[in-house]
């Protein structure tokens, strides 16, 4: 067993190539070895190690949520200023060859399936552009034969010059393919492990490429290798114990930082939402749990971008403004073609915050933050050929 206690041992984990995520039993042991002094130390430290993160995620930190909020807010303000970035997802396709128990796009679900034509993509992104969005996240199910790199490259070139940042959340690709998309103007990639617990991973991924845990785990490293400006990781909350999921996520994050110092990193905290297929979360993750996880990750990594999507309700997202999250989606529709045609069916999940961009911006301004819709121009990026 790896005894992750203090800095020296953290170094050992961070220097592994490739990364091996400790088993959840090992992570549990680390967490069990924490005491409230570890929580207090982590709350006051400039550098928080794995043990400190474990303490902040543990039940012991329950009584410290107020202090964690204060610390998380202070760090977020210092590192990111009085700003919140905004983005909108564009669903390109809901075809999927995977069978994932929790996902509305899962291959066996009987939903309307479609892939947008390039004209339709243009229509969708034009609508978002006119609404004031400059950061777009392109999302699709995983069906490489219908939606491959050629298609993504065409979409990227079509959007290039108009949008400041275009990221993708699609099937894992090869390093070469990521380089190609970077040159075409894709700035970032999001690829979530969903769960870092291997047993549960196997249990919910029933068929398709996604069954390969390790291939997926290694994907963020390939994105960084290919020169992507930013890579996003995350875990789907409601599958395995969120505390240990958070610890595994922190280890993955710190390892990526150590190995790929040129790459900016973000973390998402998607809680399971109602979706086609009617999957019931294996465990309940409360708002309080989610909040503790957000604060813990912020205190653990002061520079990581933290995303809060419209999976969460308006009340919660407004409450969390300035406390940790740095980027929000807004006015999202999770069905392909849904911006141009509100009746489009086949959504990935139903959203919890249905406000428009204008309304979300107003909420952000109301508490004295600046909604930022642009902070890079993908036109500038060159890439290795």
């Amino acid at each position: 067993m790896i005894d992750i206690k203090f800095a020296e041992k953290d170094t050992k984990i961070m220097s592994q190539e490739p990364l091996i995520i400790p088993s959840f039993q090992e992570l549990q042991n680390i967490m069990d070895s924490c005491c409230s002094e570890d929580v207090e130390a982590a709350l006051h430290a400039d550098h928080v190690g794995i043990k400190g993160l474990a303490a902040l995620l543990s039940p012991l930190a329950h009584d410290y949520l107020g202090q964690m909020a204060t610390r998380s807010q202070e760090i977020t303000l210092r590192r990111f200023g009085r700003t919140v970035q905004l983005y909108a997802p564009v669903y390109l396709s809901n075809f999927c060859t995977n069978r994932c128990a929790y996902c509305g796009f899962s291959a066996e679900n009987k939903i309307d399936r479609r892939i947008l034509t390039l004209e339709e993509v243009e229509q969708e992104v034009d609508i978002l552009y006119k609404r004031g969005f400059n950061h777009i996240l392109l999302v699709s199910g995983e069906a490489p034969k219908k939606l491959g790199v050629d298609y993504l490259e065409k979409v990227a070139l079509l959007m290039r010059g108009k949008f400041a940042a275009v990221s993708i959340e699609v099937q894992p690709l090869s390093t070469e393919d990521y380089s190609r998309l970077f040159r075409a103007g894709i700035t970032a990639v999001a690829v979530y492990q969903e769960t870092y617990e291997r047993g549960i991973y196997d249990q919910v991924h029933l068929a398709g490429q996604k069954c390969d845990y390790d291939f997926r785990l290694e994907t963020p490293a390939r994105c960084a290798e290919a020169g992507m400006r930013e890579v996003g990781i995350g875990a789907l909350l409601g599958l395995a114990d969120w505390r240990l999921e958070g610890l595994a996520l922190g280890i993955h994050l710190a390892w990526l930082r150590k190995q790929y110092w040129r790459t900016a990193l973000t973390v998402s905290f998607p809680r399971l939402r109602p979706a086609a297929g009617g999957f019931a979360p294996l465990l309940n993750v409360s708002e309080r749990d989610l909040t503790q996880m957000v604060f813990a990750l912020r205190i653990f990594d002061q520079d990581v971008g933290l995303l809060m999507s419209t999976r969460e309700e308006a009340r919660y997202r407004d409450g969390m403004l300035g406390l940790g999250p740095t980027r929000l989606s807004a006015g999202s529709c999770t069905a392909p073609g849904g911006y141009a045609n509100a009746d489009s069916g086949g959504e990935q999940f139903s959203v919890g915050d249905e406000r428009s961009l204008v309304e979300v911006c107003a909420a952000i301004r109301k508490i004295g933050l600046d909604p930022v819709r642009k902070d890079w121009d993908c036109e500038f990026q060159v890439g290795k050929s």
Binding site: K5, F6, A7, E8, M14, S15, S36, E40, A41, H44, A45, H47, K51, D63, Y64, L65, G66, Q67, A69, T70, Q73, R257, K258, Q259, W261, E287, R288, T291, R315, Y316, D318, G319, M320, L323
Partner: protein, 255 residues
Amino acid sequence: MLEIAGRKFRSRLFTGTGKFSSSEVMRQALEASNSEMVTVALRRVDLNDPGDDIMQVLDREKFFFLPNTSGARDAQEAIRLAKLAKASGGGNWLKLEVTPDPRTLLPDPIETLKATEELVRDGFVVLPYMNADPILALRLQDVGAAAVMPLGAPIGTNKGLLTRDQVEIIISQAKVPVVVDAGLGAPSHAALAMEMGADAVLVNTAIAVAGDPVAMAIAFAKAVEAGREAYKAGLGTQGSEASASSPETGLGFLR
């Protein structure tokens, strides 16, 4: 145990061999320091007085020689010295120093990066001496440096860890060992660097010019050990406010 390029070191105190009043004092001080890695320079033999030979004073079973390229003003000169050092039986390890400014002896980042890249390609184990610049440390690591050696303060100043914040970033980011070099003037400076998580420190002037170099070498050895132990033990954090629970003001929105 400290490991650099596959070689293990029990002692995390590296020592320089310059500026001692005599070879004998140097030998005694270095033996007292328990140091296993000593840096040496390369120079022309004084034809009129070829006697004093460092190789014969120091037991090479006990001390691993790390030849430096001191005096080199650019990458080319450093590479020439590196080849001479190797031919002198110095092995393929090298403390790369490129210092174009004779006044401050501060390292040239651009030439250092160039020389590191080329020497690594030629099979050298390169430990570059560098200013405490975190990005430079990463760039040197990326081209294959076996360790990085950021300075604590300009060489010979004894001012201590003036570059503390930068060194802290270097330690947190580097994959290769970080050896704090230059400027450490007192055992407390060395202890601080070690407490912060430096993998080793290199000390020369502070020992060589001390009133009693042997006693000072022992003091540095203890400080380095103490600092390392403290780092491993996990330092408590500073700060006075600590109440077990604080009101959750601002979290009223939670359901």
